[in-house]
């Protein structure tokens, strides 16, 4: 019995990480290049395979075959550890994301924790070690500056990121991501309260704090994943390439992939918290977690989840190629002076609405 449960978990881990997240990372890079080309009126990579669809394979081969060069003055142990430390937390966080409802009576989440969002923040807060170490172990000026910038940026935005989801937790009254999605599936998404219990005065009023917390959450997520307009740690006009300047071949690729994996998980969390995870809008094929559902419905739910995540990633890319980069002091001021306060006021606003409106 125990063995079967372990085997199912192993299948879920391998299936999710290697068959879904990794290809998604590879194709997110391809999408980034194609969409940026579209935005800048270029063609982009379209030679390898139909429309350049085999480009990620070619890139991967190239990364593996390139010379793995270790500069002479680096602190070797930490230099080797750093790329792994950026990749591992990004992949660990996907353990608690409910990427589907149920398939053959098996819940589609690897670990059904009672502290889901907190677990993601805890593990994500470890990913800063990879960048700090890379900057420090490279033993060179620009990577070090990149590492220092990244540390202060990630610690600052972690606060507004954590505070921004408190209104969501208050409204849903649960810390289990799976149950949060089931609730939204039956009672209406937080960002689209047009059916079920949430289609009421209270639900529509709560839309105000939810939208505020969504904006704060998304912007903080951009900062946490070091994406433009907040990619100061690897800002190429000032720091060459920031913390991964001294890295080559697959070690560089790991930083690159770690960033995209973190982006996918972040999108997954945003979808789960604000857009009802795997659930379809208007209560179609909703599931309250009680009776088993047929397998085709489970597949539709999974497809819905990944479809929403893809939309979110395209949004990430779109923002990257539309907005210019911030200056570092502007970035820190934005985090500490605006988002921190907005998130705190938003909590009070939510509590007020929940208390006063029946």
């Amino acid at each position: 019995m125990d063995f079967i449960a372990l085997a199912i978990s192993a299948v879920k881990i391998v299936g999710l990480v290697f068959l879904v997240i990794m290809p998604m990372v590879a194709y997110a890079v391809w999408a980034e290049r194609r969409v940026s080309a579209l935005i800048q009126d270029r063609v982009g990579p379209n030679r390898v395979g139909f429309q350049g669809l085999l480009q990620p394979v070619a890139d991967g081969l190239k990364f593996i075959l390139k010379e793995d060069f270790t500069p002479k003055n680096v602190r070797t142990g930490y230099y080797w550890l750093a790329p792994a430390l950026t990749m591992v937390p990004a992949l660990l966080t996907c353990a608690v994301l409910p990427f589907g409802s149920q398939l053959f009576g098996e819940p589609m989440v690897i670990a059904n924790l009672n502290a889901g969002p907190l677990f993601i923040f805890a593990i994500a807060s470890l990913s800063v070690y990879g960048i700090v170490l890379a900057g420090w172990a490279s033993n060179s000026k620009y990577p070090f500056l990149g590492g220092v910038r990244s540390t202060s940026q990630m610690i600052s935005y972690e606060i507004s990121l954590g505070l921004s989801i408190i209104p969501v937790l208050m409204i849903l009254g649960d810390l289990n991501l799976g149950r949060m999605v089931q609730d939204q599936s039956v009672n209406g998404w937080l960002m689209l309260p047009l059916w079920g219990d949430r289609f009421s005065l209270k639900g529509l009023l709560l839309l105000v704090p939810v939208v505020i917390s969504f904006v704060v959450f998304t912007v903080s997520m951009f900062a946490e994943t070091n994406r433009l307009p907040f990619d100061l740690p690897e800002c190429e006009t000032e720091l060459v390439a920031g913390y991964h300047t001294e890295y080559s071949s697959m070690k560089f690729a790991l930083f690159f992939l770690g960033e995209y994996a973190a982006m996918i998980i972040g999108s997954g969390l945003a979808v789960t918290l604000f857009f009802g995870g795997w659930s379809l809008p208007f209560g179609w094929l909703s599931w309250d977690g009680k009776a088993d559902i047929p397998w085709w419905q489970g597949l539709i739910h999974m497809a819905t989840f990944f479809g929403k995540v893809v939309v979110f990633i395209l949004f990430f890319i779109w923002v990257r190629w539309s907005l210019p980069r911030f200056r570092f002091d502007q970035l820190m001021r934005l985090g500490w002076v605006f988002f921190f306060e907005i998130a705190v006021i938003n909590i009070i606003l939510t509590a007020g609405i929940m208390m006063l409106v029946k």
Partner: protein, 162 residues
Amino acid sequence: MLFYLFAAIALAGGLGVVAFRNPVTSAFSLVASFLGLAALFIHLNAFLVGVLQVLVYAGAIMVLFLFIIMLLDIKSDEGPKITKLMGLGAGLLAMVFVGMLWRVTVSLKSAPLETLYPEVRSDAHEIGRLLFGEYFFPVQVVGILLLVAPIGVVVLSRRAVR
């Protein structure tokens, strides 16, 4: 099984903190120790405590420690010479502490959380209920006390107004 694995990680990390001379390695050992400890908490069904251990200690406080170590570029230091008297004092202190821990451990009931407190839904709910119900006043006092500290720092480090 898992308990021994994570206990070993926590202990090895703790040992590493004192054994290594390089401050960065020491800091990382401490992080490893915290992670092992967090895993032990989760093993005891205390999800919130375990997660907070990682979030606050490993994710925030140790990053700041590391930040300071790297910024000041502290070289591995030799430390003061340990005299016989110091060793004796430390040994005595450690023995008192171990004795205290032993007494506490044997006086505890040992059973799974669900059987001891069947009414508890999850530890997050229970901690919230206690903090904002029974211990509401002490929590507020501690909060104000902590607020005084940053205000003090701001006042002391502020440049003089011209």
